[in-house]
Each structure stands twice: as C-alpha cells, then as structure tokens.
C-alpha cells in the first residue's frame, strides 16, 4: 500500500506537469540562465576559473530545486488539495515520499540539460567518470530535495513561504551542497582524486539516510496542525 500510494502521487504530479509544463520550463529556464550568467563572469579568453564549474553546477541545481519545490507545493495549496491528501486512509509518510519522488524526477530533467551545458561552457570533463558523477548528482539532489520537500510541505500555509523556504533550507542543506561541490571538484581537477570523490559520495549517502529518516519521522506530526 505504501509503494502504491507513492506511485499514485507521483503519477498524479507528472500528469499535472505534463499538462501545464510550468515547473519544468521555469526551473530549466532559471538553471540555464544561472549557468550562462556565471559563464560570462568566470570564463575569460575561453579559459574558466579553476574549480568554478563544480560550484556553478551545484548552485544551479540548488536554486532551480528551490524554485521547483515551491511550485510543487503551491499547486497543493491552491485548492487545498494537500488537506485532501492528508484525509486519505494511507500512511502520510507515503505522501511525502510521493511528492519527493515527483520533485526528484523534475530535477533529473533539469540536470540532464544543465550538466552538459556546464561541461560545454566551462570545458569541464563531467562525463569522464560517469558513474561517480551520476552518484554524486543522485545523492546530492536526493538530500537537498528530501529536506526541501519536508519544509515546503510545512510552509505551504505560511504567508511568506517563498522567503522562508530558502532561509530554512540552505543552512540545513549546506553539508549536501559542500559535499556535492567538493566531490565534483575532485573529479574535475587535473589529477583526478577518485578516493576523495568516493568519500564525498559516501558522506552524501549518509546525509540522505539521515535526512530521509528524519523527514519520514517528522512529516506526520508537522502536517497535523
């Protein structure tokens, strides 16, 4: 029943997104703009500043992720459908996992465009170690979205939710962003440091376990006012 609920929520969110294409277009536009603006600042005479690519990649993911999180829950607020979801005779953590999975799929689409763009603009060998890079992206995005989904759900009825979400989200997800940046930088430096990238990947996986466990534990009490 848990997985079935997750699937129903994901399918519903994807169906709505396919109809409106609102989140995917806005986050993509934002992420691409972010990378292009930084490319003008950090690439001189065709040569990028050292280590800039890793930082810019993760800034683009974090900023566009915040945008996607806000919009994903704005939909549930408009007709108070979040309350209808909460009224269903299902495990409420399954609703959280469903919303999280929907956000992750949308961010995967954004990353599928942004990663090659960063590789192109900053001449960064992001595809030299594809498994490690994919692992860093997957674990980093999951950790960021796990906390973000919880906060976005908690703030859905707050009047200044658009301001509060990044204020609450960024300080807590700083370890994830640092882990993503350092892990990616270890893969991009001239002497690739695979052990260091693996250490950061492991740390990100640990963050994911901690954040998801805490979110599953706190989602129900925080949603029952």
């Amino acid at each position: 029943m848990f997985l079935r609920t997750v699937w129903l929520v994901v399918r519903k969110d994807l169906l709505i997104e396919l109809r409106s294409r609102e989140i995917v277009y806005t986050t993509l536009f934002f992420a691409i703009s972010c990378v292009l603006v930084f490319a003008f600042g950090f690439v001189r005479d065709g040569r990028p500043v050292e280590d800039a690519a890793a930082g810019i990649l993760w800034i683009a993911i974090a900023f566009s992720g915040t945008l996607a999180l806000g919009r994903a829950f704005e939909r549930e607020r408009q007709s108070e459908t979040l309350r209808a979801l909460m009224m269903a005779p299902v495990d409420r953590p399954a609703l959280y996992v469903g919303k999280l999975a929907g956000v992750l799929l949308l961010l995967a689409v954004v990353e599928a465009v942004v990663v090659p763009l960063v590789a192109l603009m900053f001449q960064a060998p992001l595809f030299a170690h594809p498994l490690l890079m994919a692992g860093l992206l997957a674990t980093g995005t999951t950790g960021f979205a796990a906390v973000g989904t919880l906060f976005a759900a908690m703030l859905v009825r707050a009047r200044s939710r658009d301001v509060l979400l990044p204020i609450l989200l960024y300080p807590i997800t700083i370890p994830v962003i640092i882990g993503g940046v350092r892990g990616t930088a270890a893969l991009l430096q001239p002497d690739v440091d695979l052990p260091m990238a693996t250490v950061w990947l492991s740390m990100l996986a640990c963050f994911d376990v901690v954040f998801i466990t805490l979110a599953l534990w706190t989602f129900e009490p925080s949603m029952t006012e």
């Binding site: 029943m1 609920t5 129903l8 519903k12 169906l15 709505i16 109809r19 409106s20 939909r75 408009q78 007709s79 108070e80 459908t81 309350r83 209808a84 979801l85 909460m86 009224m87 269903a88 005779p89 299902v90 495990d91 409420r92 029952t224 006012e225």
Partner: protein
C-alpha cells in the same frame, strides 16, 4: 490492501478545546451526533465552525479534550479511520489541471476503493458532469462544487463533514444537494454541516447548534416548532450576546 477501516455509529466531542497561540477558538465543546442524523453547525464568521470540522476530520488535533468515533479515538483507530470520513471543505480539494474523471479516479485509488471506474462513472452521472473531459479549472463554481461533493462521498463515508456545501449552487443543484443529504441520512451517515443559508436547510436538519464565543448552544424546537430556524438562530445569538 488499504488499512482496515473501523466503522462507528456516533461522533462525540468531549470537552474539546482548541487554541491557536493565545487565541482560544473552541472552549470545552461537547457534542454528540448519531448515525442517521443531520446536524447543522451555525454561527457568525470566525466563530470556529471550520475549526470544529477540521478537528472531526483529523486535520487538527484538540488542545485538550477528546474526539471519539464510536468508542475509538483517532490515535487508537489508526489511519484506516480516515477512510470512513468524507470532507467537503471551503476550498474544493480538487486539482484544476485534471479532468473530473481523473480527479475522482485519483482519489478513488488513493482510498483503495474496489471497482473505481464504475463508482467514478456513477458519481459523474450524479454530478451531471459525465460529458465533461476538460480540466476542472474551466468549470463554473457550481460545477466544481458538485464535483467536490462527489469526491467527498465517493468512498461512502460514515461521517460526512460539509463546510458551506450550498455555496455557488443554483436552485436546481441546491435541491439535488438537499435530496442527497436526505439520502445520506437514510443510509445511516452522520452529517455535520456548516452554513449561513438557514432558509435552505430549513426542514432538512435534525438538530442545529450555534457556535459563538468559543461555546456551543443547542437551538431548540426544530421538530415542528412554530418559529423558523432563522428566528431561533437570532434568539440563541441574542441570548449568548
């Protein structure tokens, strides 16, 4: 398999209070509603009617006191209890980007209903929306209200909580809703509704209570009394003022 859905034949608020920060919205409210009864919850705006419905819907927890569904509390009964509760809120709880059928099918599956397609088809027929396959966002307020009512009743709940159910309905739809509420009473549902439209519910409700100043007052003489519901409401409101 969906969680086991425990049944019950009464809803009791026992000394229920609810505060929001320092603001006291409900103060030691006690009320019992039985199966086959339609109870109107009346009161001015901001009196706490929607808060009381949210408490019964398990969307809020009481600051003190207890809400019993039959002999059980929500904590004892588990999430399956929510499968016996249907809520039509002030907001309509439907996705404007989805069609009426998609909305009902989604919620039917979420509730783990058997034979979802047949139930959805019957519900769309009742709402007069069987011919509409466009997104709900393009519907009129009345059409959305009819759809929202069918969504709330799709899983045949025992406890039906309706917050301003007549809002946005034309005369024909109002008549149909009155009939539907009569049918719910016959089926043994516990119906608790809020409204300001006292003339519309005249003769429909078994009991009416006034919520004002965080406390409840029962309006008397509903069975064939000489005064209208509006007059009794005014009298009770003046007595509490």
């Amino acid at each position: 398999m969906p969680p086991r859905q425990p049944d019950f034949t009464s809803l009791s608020f026992v000394d229920v209070s609810r505060h929001f920060g320092r603001r006291r919205v409900l103060n030691r409210i006690s009320l019992c509603c039985e199966a086959g009864e339609v109870v109107a919850l009346l009161g001015p705006n901001g009196a706490g009617k929607s808060t009381l419905l949210s408490l019964a819907a398990t969307l809020l927890t009481p600051s003190s006191g207890e809400i019993r569904y039959g002999e059980q509390t929500m904590a004892a009964a588990g999430p399956g209890l929510r499968g016996r509760i249907g809520v039509l809120g002030h907001d309509l709880y439907v996705y404007p980007e989805l069609s009426a059928a998609e909305n009902l099918t989604f919620f039917g599956r979420l509730y783990g209903l058997a034979d979802v397609e047949a139930r959805v088809a019957a519900a769309l027929d009742r709402a007069g929306l069987a011919h509409r396959d466009d997104p709900v966002g393009r519907f009129s307020r009345g059409m959305r209200q009819r759809l929202a009512l069918e969504r709330a009743l799709l899983h045949e709940p025992r406890l039906v909580l309706l917050d301003e159910p007549f809002t946005g309905l034309d005369d024909a739809a109002t008549g149909m809703l009155r009939e539907r509420l009569g049918g719910l009473r016959q089926a043994g549902c516990i119906v608790l509704l809020t409204t300001h439209d006292l003339e519309t519910i005249e003769g429909l409700v078994d009991r009416a209570v006034l919520l004002r100043g965080a406390a409840l007052t029962v309006l008397d003489e509903l069975d064939g009394g000489p005064r209208s519901l509006r007059e009794r409401y005014r009298a009770a409101a003046e007595a509490r003022a």
